[in-house]
């Protein structure tokens, strides 16, 4: 019955890991046409499904068993919830009569995931299943996307019930608003027309709603520069003429200056995270703010909004595009150009010894990639360097853990991307710390011959934490040096993957070329300068125009 429902929902692939409580479910998979990717840790199943969902726009589906199987999903679910990724997670539960008795492998997963799912269900009987499954898919993939979990007691898998599946469903308390309020849209048009120093500030909402092309037309027609949050990268081409980069803590100087000096911010599909706004009281003091978002609760949550528009970002931008005329922004764009020339993103500190710079590696990866390349990053310095130096040219092509900042996300997410987009090149940019959080998935990529380049930025430390110790804790490097890391080349080879090592610029370029030319997974261990830090930087809770620059340009 579950597989039949998945088929109705158009699911082609699920990610999972079996166990006692889902034995009946896995038994039906044995001779079903539905594809299943066996991972080596349930956390990887969620992240892979998350990567798959980001690339395809369809909900990622995960199977896991009760108890430890279900609790292993938790980080992945929280991650998807923070980044609004549609997932449907199906967990087995102990048989109904044992629920509440602390039975073997019992965990209250609906209770545990209550605050990190968009909605969840504990199924009581098989009759409820069709209704719950169709609601779950509908809730996960509509409105503001998010993960939905369905917990199914073992005995329910074995029950028979009439299967009447309807992919359309009506839920009384759930009616997302898609069309923006006409009056508010007119006010926005007027505000944009009157602005002299406008910026568009876009985020993940642009990507989820498929608004990239309309955004581009709008920016170019009205001549408004574009700033994208970490989650928004790719919604406007990273090498596009009006692109100012990412704002906030490791944003470009230009983006931060532009937000500070702007007289109008057109915020679309963003949530004004503290990593973006810095000290709230000083954020964008000169600007009127238009905020377009599908989730009314995001509007006015952190920042006071002048023109709120609740709706689907793409639909609202289409309305705006119809009504907008070219703006008077020439002078403003000149000012921005001056900042851009004066403050490019630094490419690394001066380097007499000739050690390999992580920024160089990312720039080479970017230079040698085509515009359809999908990048999945882990979390840390390498993530920020990727955001700064990799020119993401298309939406859904930069997968990163934005809201939760989950080390271990990148590698499984790259697996999901690989399976979602068989034609595109996939690169996982990871760190020596993060990679070890899901390194076991080397077995999955080797076993399934998944073609990808794993670019390991090996700085011998938990670099991002070390950077904070460097700057804010008097260089007291408490537990951030990764002694005892394995030889990553040997580890990859032991799993049966190809692996290369690069310690100089020349080796780095050659290794990337070789990896890109090779079918199947290739790991490159880039041994980089361990002292390198990410700049520019704004200290936490400081005004975003108070920027620590560093390094050479």
């Amino acid at each position: 019955m579950i597989l039949a429902a998945l088929e109705k929902e158009g699911v082609e692939l699920v990610f999972g890991f079996p166990g006692g409580a889902v034995l009946p479910l896995y038994d039906t998979l044995y001779d079903a046409p539905l594809k299943h990717l066996l991972v080596r840790h349930e956390q990887a199943a969620v992240h892979a499904a998350d990567g798959y969902a980001r690339v395809t726009g369809k909900p990622g589906v995960v199977f896991a068993t009760s108890g430890p199987g279900a609790t292993n999903l938790v980080t992945g679910i929280a991650n998807a919830y923070m980044d609004s990724v549609p997932l449907v997670l199906i967990t087995g539960q102990v048989a109904s009569q044992f629920i509440g008795t602390d039975a073997f492998q019992e965990a209250d997963i609906t209770g545990i995931t209550l605050p990190i799912t968009k909605h969840n269900y504990l199924v009581k009987s098989a009759e409820e299943l069709p209704g719950i499954l169709s609601e779950a898919f509908y809730i996960a993939s509509s409105g503001r996307r998010g993960p939905v979990l369905i917990d199914i007691p073992k005995d329910v898998f074995d029950q028979e019930a009439y299967f009447d599946y309807n992919t359309e469903c009506h839920i009384p308390g759930y009616n997302p608003t898609y069309t923006g309020h006409a009056g508010q849209i007119s006010r926005a048009v007027k505000a944009i027309r009157d602005a002299r120093r406008p910026v568009i500030f876009g985020g993940g909402g642009l990507i989820r709603s498929g608004a990239s092309s309309v955004l581009r037309q709008l920016a170019e027609k009205a001549r408004i520069p574009v700033i994208l949050s970490l989650m928004g990268l790719g919604a406007y081409p990273g090498d596009g003429e009006l692109f100012l980069g990412m704002p906030g803590m490791h944003g470009s100087v230009t983006a931060n200056y532009a937000l500070t000096e702007a007289d109008l911010i057109v915020a679309t599909g963003v949530r004004f995270d503290d990593r973006v706004t810095g000290k709230l009281e000083t954020f964008a003091q000169n600007a009127k703010i238009i905020h377009i978002d599908i989730d009314p609760a995001e509007i006015g949550k952190n920042v006071v909004i002048d023109i709120p528009i609740v709706g689907d970002v793409r639909q609202v931008l289409e309305e705006l595009l119809r009504k907008l005329k070219p703006g008077h922004t020439a002078k403003w764009l000149k000012q921005i150009e001056t900042w851009q020339n004066k403050y490019p993103i630094p490419i690394g500190s001066s380097n007499p010894g000739g050690a390999l710079k992580p920024q160089f590696v990312i720039r080479e990866l970017s230079r040698l990639s085509d515009e359809d390349t999908i990048v999945a990053t882990d979390v840390g310095q390498h993530q920020m360097w990727s955001a700064q130096h990799f020119a993401v040219r298309k939406p859904n092509a930069f997968l990163t853990s934005g809201g939760l900042g989950t080390m271990g996300y990148g590698f499984p997410a790259a697996i999901g991307a690989r399976l979602a987009a068989p034609e595109n090149r996939v690169i996982c940019i990871t760190g020596d710390g993060s990679f070890q959080m899901n390194i076991q998935e080397l077995a999955t990529v080797v076993n399934n011959k998944l073609d990808m380049t794993i670019a390991l930025i090996n700085n011998g430390s938990l670099g991002m934490v070390r950077q904070w110790q460097d700057i804010f804790f008097d260089k007291r490097y408490s537990h951030t040096t990764l002694k005892g890391s394995p030889d990553f080349v040997k580890v990859a080879e032991a799993y049966g993957a190809r692996a290369l090592r690069a310690t100089t610029n020349e080796e780095a370029t050659a290794a990337i070329e070789e990896a890109f030319a090779t079918k199947g997974p290739v790991l490159i261990d880039f041994v980089v300068d361990p002292e390198e830090n990410v700049y520019p930087m704004v200290a936490p809770n400081r005004p975003i125009n108070e920027i620590i620059t560093g390094g050479d340009y």
């Binding site: 308390g173 989730d295 609760a297």
Partner: protein
Amino acid sequence: MKHILAILVENKPGALTRISGLFSRRGFNIDNIAVGETITPGIARMTITVEGSETVIEQVIKQLHKLVNVIKVSNLSNEPAVTRELMLIKVRAETGSRSDIQQIVETFRGKVVDVSPDSMIIEVTGNDDKLEAIKLLLDNFGIKEIVRTGKVALLRGSRVTREA
């Protein structure tokens, strides 16, 4: 400022946990909660009294709306509404003080619902001010225990808070 929210919610397992969990998770302060059936089967009504500024309350309401089981949220504090709460008070009552207590109870249109050799239980219904006032007066005799239902409220006039 205190706000009284009327929340219509699908009476599904976990629905109340979702709502109370939301309040604690987001740091909203609940003063009290009352829950009960409505005239529509399957739909319960919660009345929640919550403390906070206008912006906080706006955020509370929006977050409540995001819960799939929540059908409607109204802020009754901005409208004329009848608000009531029921309180039971167990007060020390030796034979000598009983008639004094009786008199207070009558003034507040309360009821004596239980009498034992050294105590009485008083039932009284009203708004905050009234309940506080009787509490203060009975305190002179020695209050042993209090229990309150939490506030419930209805809009005045013919308007109703309904699911559609």
